[in-house]
Amino acid sequence: MELHSLSSTTGEWLRGEGPESDIVISTRIRLARNLRGRPFPPRAGPEARGLAEAFVRERVRGAAPFAEGVCLELARSSELDRKLLVERHLISRELANAEGQRSVAFTRDESTSVMINEEDHLRIQVIRSGMQLAACWEAADRVEHTLGSRLDFAFDDAFGYLTSCPTNVGTGMRVSVMLHLPALVLTKQMERVFEAMSKISLAVRGLFGEGTSASGDFYQISNQVTLGFDEAQLLGRLNDVIPKVIEHERHTRDALLADNRVKLEDRVWRALGVLRTARRISSEETMETLSSVRLGVNLGLLPGLSISTINTLFILTQPAHLQKLEGRPLATPERNERRARFIREQLGAP
């Protein structure tokens, strides 16, 4: 697959379907696994790193979900291609910016991927649209089992699956639910959400995970602990809490509508106005206005716009996607122009 073709499409998880998809963008499960008897990637020299990468890559490529998919050696990819993969949530920033042999394999619908030689030898990822913990876990478990029959994973009776960083040991599982919470942000209630989550060992992170900001009012809620609880318990904890956050966001949206309908309408229509008319627009302003428009669409204030169009714009308007679409590097002012034009085209505006 030519990566260029990715710049005008998005993965299936952005189609805006699935349970609670007005608020839950996606459910993601990541499993960290390592090879027995080999140094972890951060501590491996170039040779050991290369050997492990080639060994894993060959076996991943031959496995059922990836045989028809895409496999990329990132050391041979351009910086722009790597950024494109980060923007699509197929690889982490850490893997993009790392050095030495490393790769990614993913299915054509981008719902399943494996990062090879990130912090661990394998980071298996399954992502689904909306709130789908059970379906996501079943898929991740299946893929892990398939790969586990081809690779000897490092496992210890006491510590479980062994990982480079002890924060991931045990199940090696990180479950993240990505939520769009504009009403809670607007009413300055996110601090309370952060506090409540940290009390029950759940982390709240930005759009691209650890250390990233919550642009576009997107937040990822994920489990912090991975050891001492089985997968069902870790999933169950999120399954208990996420519906409460969703309910809180919905309630706040209703209250905003009831108390300040005109103010809210003004906000979402102005945002749409900017997106439909701007001749130059930055990444930040795009995220901000798209978030308001997404809220408007979900509240039925902006008829005729679909959630999948808006979801897609969040991804396709990012810097690497625009440059890939244009087929050349673009400096910031040019990129802002291209972004504005692209958004107008997508929204059918002149």
Binding site: L133, A134, R142, H145, S164, L227, F229, E231
Partner: protein, 173 residues
């Protein structure tokens, strides 16, 4: 971290204060010894930069951290427990066995637990997955009963009954 001179594992961190400016060097034990930086007299290597060349006239502070590292060492990858504590990352899967005693305390701090529960390599995929499906259905059942949606509750109960026999002892808590 790699040794700045030979690509080996840097186990010695030298902090040199040259004209009130701090210079950090990361070297493996062998390079640190041969360079002479650890000896009382500093010999700047010919290929080094000006800052180090000016060492003779500078005040010098040397911290010899891992050169005398007597902490437990992983027999497979040579990572020492001190190195792990500094870097936060283990060297290889065998480090877990090598630092088993020390890890218990740390794992308890991070996870509040020290022993694995959950999937094992010999476990077929359906078992672990069904365990959760059941947990989820029971959660939905409790919510349905709570909101007096009895029709939905009846359907959920049927689904749970259909799943339960196949999951054996892996029922939901």
């Amino acid at each position: 971290m790699k040794c700045e001179r030979c690509e080996g594992v840097a186990s010695v961190r030298l902090v040199l204060v040259v004209n009130d400016e701090k210079v950090e060097r990361h070297l493996c034990e062998r390079c640190a010894e041969t360079q002479g930086d650890l000896a009382p007299t500093i010999h700047a290597p010919p290929d080094d930069d000006n800052k180090v060349a000016a060492l003779a006239a500078a005040s010098i502070e040397i911290r010899r951290a891992a050169a005398i590292d007597t902490s437990p060492r992983c027999p497979s990858c040579e990572t020492t427990h001190n190195q792990f504590r500094r870097q936060g990352k283990l060297g290889c899967p065998d480090c877990y066995a090598a630092f088993r005693t020390q890890l218990d305390g740390l794992l308890d701090k991070i996870h509040g637990r020290t022993r694995h529960r959950g999937k094992r390599p010999d476990q077929p995929p359906t078992e672990a997955a069904l365990g959760y499906r059941l947990t989820e259905l029971q959660g939905r059942l409790a919510r349905a009963v709570g909101s007096e949606s009895y029709e939905e509750a009846a359907q959920l109960r049927d689904q749970i009954r259909a799943l339960a026999p196949t999951t054996g002892t892996h029922g939901a808590p």
